[in-house]
Symmetry: C3
Subunit: 349 residues, 3 copies
């Protein structure tokens, strides 16, 4: 549980850090996995191993982030993600304060910027942000020296979700390099898909996606492999779901957003289930010990059948459990850089 | 403050426990008082004595549940009950995370079941559930090995409220057996009434209820005593409130739900107050030292007059105070079974 | 960080304290700065110095209020103020429980009074109240022996905001006595203005206000000095903003409430900015090292220009930071009177 040297995502936001209080320890952010090298990702996953061990203890508590303040600022509802971060922070001994959009003074005309500056002035250590607009956490990170963690921004990114996906796969399969990952569903509009494609490719996996051709950019074409110009070099666009799932080591089903259907991108849910739903017949095309993943919440009977969702190959609940450990690793790396001495004295028993 | 051996309500939900993680300590639930024996209830009340002592300390804190995570999941508003559970958990040193229905992803199409499975996967220790639908906590308990505590479900049960009623009466009167308990008000639709009738009868008290005949089941009749077939063997249905209160050791007034009047079950609130409201004249019919109870929130001037509500016989505020102690006892019994060693080392001072 | 003897605001609410549990330590309240002497205010500011030092530590945590329960009860949204109090309480080691109006059972017909009595019965130590109605915290303080802290009531008072203003000025200028304080904006309807005028005058400062004549009481007149009969003896009403700002040591701009414009009290926002907005030209009229303050949230371009808001003289973010320290001092003074022994053993490191 030591990870004192890692710095996470200190690219574009270096300027903001430079103008920050010089006496504060250097802050960094986790905005997307783009900014991280494979080695930095591996370090985080290694740290998460130790964190997972802590979450399994009878007394789940360490003083690692005691005296630190973490604020969750959710402009979108997400019980799953907020509770996961809140628990991660509390297990590490931090104080966690929740702010939701409806409870914020945004409604009083205070700009997002002023809200962030206010929280910054309170000397908080980390700001976990969920926002419906892509890029909002980047904007915020320019105006605070608190560590900003992107907990999902619009259709853009959800980096801790992707880290927990990697962590879950690594724990089952070991080295991810060379493995075949099939991602099926609402790829174009899913921040989970985008972040996970980047993450799995960065770790050397071969990623194949399958989705309705209305859910990929116009310039892409099913049955092809993307080149570097697309930003997803080597990503395979399967002709159909069977091709994607064939011989896969991991099958990840994504939630189909109701809004897509309303906008005509997707046929009826029944037809969607028939053509892209993951069921036992399709799982039979994958490797015998292939993992079945889903970022949740699942709509059983649509993108995933109930027997598969709760079957032997499903690691869906394990993903949730690993999410707490991965978020502990991220919060620890961001809030306690170079301060491993506070941790090395052992946990309070 | 030791109660290491008690197990609470391990009847119908044994199956769920069986399929749970074998390495976890056995979990049990508190769904209703039906499942508990008189001796188990007495054990909980004994434990609450110690908890009450702790709540009266200048430093109200013990490490008994340190490193445990308790989630309150309220699908209905109740400041009173939620704050009581939150304070109980925090005094015991647990981490408490609040989830409300409006903040949950239920609105995103995630089913109650998936929400519960998600929280379960985060390895939480207790799930305190308030839900407008009778039976919801039972449903939930089948899908989690966290301890489920029913904090009020529809018109069904509110077991910690009944436990605090018992505790309050015991502290004043001693042995409850043989005492006369009068419950006046919205009995048919009140989860408090249902749970409390069961609880007081189980402890040997003689329970008499009084209410409009529109608020009891059609097959019941005022002026009779129920038999075993009703599930409330020996419950007396008084002809009128005076008969119920006469010589009572305890008079419990229940809140009349506005919805009842809207549905025609109850006449005007003014008429209700005249015929069933507890006032000083009616209290004079009870024993001299009879206790006046109300589960709150009170509508003064309707089911209870202000002078009685705040008079010398009223133990309404004491009920609230005892609620914290009783909930500490319940959370401790459920989250730390057989782990008294962690507690026996004494509280942090 | 010792302040064992101070008692805060024990005037009108003495009666409530008298009827409270005799074994409880005497409780007092912070309802407005009217009740405090200059010396009591100075004591609080001295205590806040020590608290500010704690907030700057790497591990921001003391056990000073361990085992105490603080409830924030907000009937109005205010992320800024609620988070500040929550962080203050948590740094001091207290348990903090949030209650919001929408989450309270006020909607179930429970009166404010019953809510307060319920929380009182749970033996909480402090109740931090924000309420849209002037006087609500006074009402509440009559029915609880918990310490009531006014976190803003209607147009009446916001005492911790004024304390942080004083604290910020003192830290920069030293002795406040004899200094010129210019307050510009929505004075009549601003609880901040009212509390701050009282506070600065009490500390011996010369306070001048400037605002549209529609925003002062009818019986007041711009260009005059108020006498004792107004309750603001010596307060100068400047003819215009330039006169107010001239040679000032502190310039405080207030937010103009949108509601004022809707009601015709204020011309267009553009005209308001021209006639009363604080910009660099106006700041040039003040002393060279004059401080620029704003209670936030700022509407840049209206009551304050962006360059001034973020310029070298602005102490707006410092006000926010100091707010945490001042609230720590208040909570400590109210919740731990005469209990310095618990603190003197040193902070946990």
């Amino acid at each position: 549980m030591t990870n004192p040297t890692i710095t996470v995502g200190n690219g574009a936001e270096a300027e903001a850090t430079d103008v920050a209080d010089a006496t504060a320890s250097p802050r960094h952010h986790l905005l997307d996995l783009d900014d991280l090298s494979a080695s930095e990702i591996s370090d985080l996953l290694d740290s998460a191993e130790g964190m997972l061990e802590i979450t399994g203890r009878d007394v789940r508590k360490t003083p690692a982030l005691r005296g630190k303040t973490i604020i969750t600022m959710f402009f979108e509802n997400s019980t799953r993600t907020r509770v996961s971060f809140e628990q991660a922070g509390k297990i590490l001994g931090a104080d966690v304060i929740n702010v939701t959009a409806s409870a914020s003074s945004v409604s009083k005309g205070e700009s997002l910027l002023n809200t962030v500056k206010t929280l910054q002035a309170m000397q908080i250590d980390a700001l976990v942000v969920r926002h419906p607009h892509s890029g909002a956490p980047y904007f915020i990170s320019n105006y605070t020296d608190a560590a900003v963690v992107n907990a999902g921004d619009g259709t853009h990114a959800h980096p801790t979700q992707s880290l927990l996906d990697l962590f879950t796969v690594r724990n089952h399969i070991g080295d991810i390099a060379g493995k075949k990952i099939a991602i099926v569903g609402d790829v174009l509009y899913s921040r989970v898909a985008r972040s996970s494609i980047i993450a799995f490719q960065k770790m050397g996996a071969e990623v194949t996606i399958s989705c309705p051709n209305t859910l990929i950019p116009d310039e892409w074409q099913l049955g092809t492999v993307l080149d570097e110009s697309t930003g997803f070099d080597g990503l395979k666009l399967a002709k159909n779901v069977d091709e994607a799932v064939d011989s896969a080591d991991v099958v990840m089903a994504l939630r189909i957003q109701q809004e897509r259907q309303d906008s005509g991108h997707v046929p009826t849910l029944r037809e969607y289930a028939e053509r892209w739903g993951i069921n036992s017949e399709r799982m039979a095309l994958a490797n015998d010990d292939a993992l079945l993943m889903h970022p949740g919440p699942m709509t059983e009977g649509v993108e995933i059948s109930s027997d598969v969702a709760h079957g032997a190959q499903s690691v869906v609940e394990e993903q949730v459990r690993n999410g707490v450990a991965v978020r502990m690793a991220v919060l620890y790396a961001l809030c306690a850089p170079g301060k491993s001495t506070r941790v090395s004295s052992g946990d309070e028993a």
